[in-house]
């Protein structure tokens, strides 16, 4: 069977970066037939034209419900979905829900072969989330740095302090008041604007 040698995998994800990361991972793992669907209009028709063995979809995608009708055996559904991964493995569905992805197996695909695909999906989705997290943290840190620098400048000007002294004053105040240094810095900026 062709499907046995190289299953066709459809990735349904409106986030092109995440979809690319997942596709790359699947290709590295030897899954050559991977197709991405990023446009949700006429989703079912697109899926039928790809005719995949496995469908991967992100959980924040409202179109997940569209796939549910592929569970129904009817004239409209050519190859029904045989199962949703959790039917065999509660731990793997928990991990995939946590990661934000779900997988459907289309009729005819051997379910033992899904495990490696799911594991890969979970790790790539988690890697993407981590990346986004780091990006968010870097952005926040950068913004905090700007606030602290502005407050430092205000203190230096108003109290005639050196840069080092201004920073030490903010840090010791933060420690005494059990607050973050950025909060103290923000209060200084707010106060100075009020007193202008």
């Amino acid at each position: 069977m062709v499907a046995e040698s190289s299953p066709k995998i459809a990735i349904v994800d409106e986030n092109p970066i995440r979809a690319a990361i997942l596709e790359e991972g699947l290709r590295e793992a030897g899954f050559a037939a991977v197709e991405r669907v990023g446009e949700m209009n006429n989703l079912l028709a697109r899926i039928y034209s790809i005719d995949p063995d496995v469908i991967l979809i992100d959980l924040e995608n409202p179109s997940r419900d569209v796939l549910e009708q592929m569970f129904q055996v009817s004239r409209a559904v050519r190859r029904p979905i045989a199962m949703f991964v959790d039917q065999s493995d509660a731990a793997s569905i928990q991990a995939s829900v946590d990661a934000g992805v779900s997988a459907y197996i289309v009729d005819g695909f051997r379910k033992e072969r899904i495990k490696s695909i799911i594991d890969l999906c979970i790790s790539r989705f988690n890697a993407f989330a981590k990346l986004q997290d780091e990006l968010e943290r870097t952005k926040t840190a950068l913004e905090e740095r700007k606030v602290i620098d502005r407050a430092k400048g205000i203190l230096m000007k108003l109290k005639g302090l050196s840069e080092e002294e201004a920073y030490v004053l903010m840090r010791s105040t933060a420690m005494r008041e059990k607050k973050k240094i950025v909060e103290i810095a923000q209060s200084i900026i707010t106060a100075s604007e009020l007193l202008k």
Partner: protein, 395 residues
Amino acid sequence: MTDNRKPGSLVPLRIGFIPLVDAAALLVAVGKGFARDEGLDVTLHREVSWSNVRDKLNLGLSDAAHLLAPVAIASSLGLGHVKVPIVAAFNLGLNGNAITVSPALHAAIMGEVDGDPLNPLVTAQALSRVVAARKKTGAEPLVFGMTFPFSTHNYQLRFWMAAGGVDPDEDVRLVVLPPPYMVESLASGHVDAFCVGAPWNSVAVDLGVGHILHFVSDILARAAEKMLAVRQPWADKNPTVLASLIRAHDRAAEFIEVPDNRAEVAAILARPEHIGVDAEVIRRTLDGRLKVSPDGKVRESGRYLLVGREGAARPDPVQAAWLYAQMVRWGQAPLSDQSLAIARGVFRPDLYDAATGKAGRPETRVADGVGAFAGPAFDPSAITQHLDSFRIRRR
């Protein structure tokens, strides 16, 4: 009391919902502090798909959920998905959906209407003639959007068109569409019509891309739409928490039905973290006063969406049996006495009565509990004979 609630401390609960007006009792129970008064600290989780709501409930990632009534039954029967027994002890709403059609399909149906267009038999027969004419010219079959394979929307559309002689599987195409995509799909011509809950029908009318052809209350007088659902093992382990949750919801349902409270209710529902649409649009649904066509025509109905009145909040096993009968009629489920008993058992008026202290089945004018516009009165003890009376069916 078998669950170990500490006196004085709040019980944390995670509850999933889809941003729709029929989540009103849940959103008001939390938003007005009724849940807190019952000792519950509810965190609401807004979800994007019914599959997510169902899976998170099944996995225990949420404790309770605003759930499509047929999904509660399908889950308990293991249809289409994993088998997880569900307890539905509070009915979040009866009715509340509408069938909206594109201006082109509206004109075509009105051109064929022979009688009162508010009569669903008249419009269904008109639709049948439209479908026949399209077949003759070789036009593509009409496409109807609905929200989920196991949804009242699916069954209401099918019941309606089949009564007029349109076979929902042969003569037209029924497709699942997420509610937020319905209006866009109607505007772009991907679908010709849809059946969905509020606020999406009103949004289509306001944008001039749709006409509301029917309130689903034209098709069935009383249809269980969304339930407050919990897992059976959770219900068994947390009986007093469940009772508190039911009481908080019942208080919210009563609050919602007081006309003077409607503005406040609409404002709570309209919040961006809840439904996130204009309060005025939500208000129309609560009042059952809807603009039905882009030219501004308004239709008013006392049965559009029933949240607490006429005993709507009390789960009615007859409704569950009717929904199960539709699953059988359309080939989603085999017919068996055992499955029927399981389906009926999902709806738990006994738990509702015990929690609220209200006495028994409410009086309604709907004799068989369903009030369908076509076919014989519904008798849950004779589903085979009932289904045999319909010509178009999959079994």
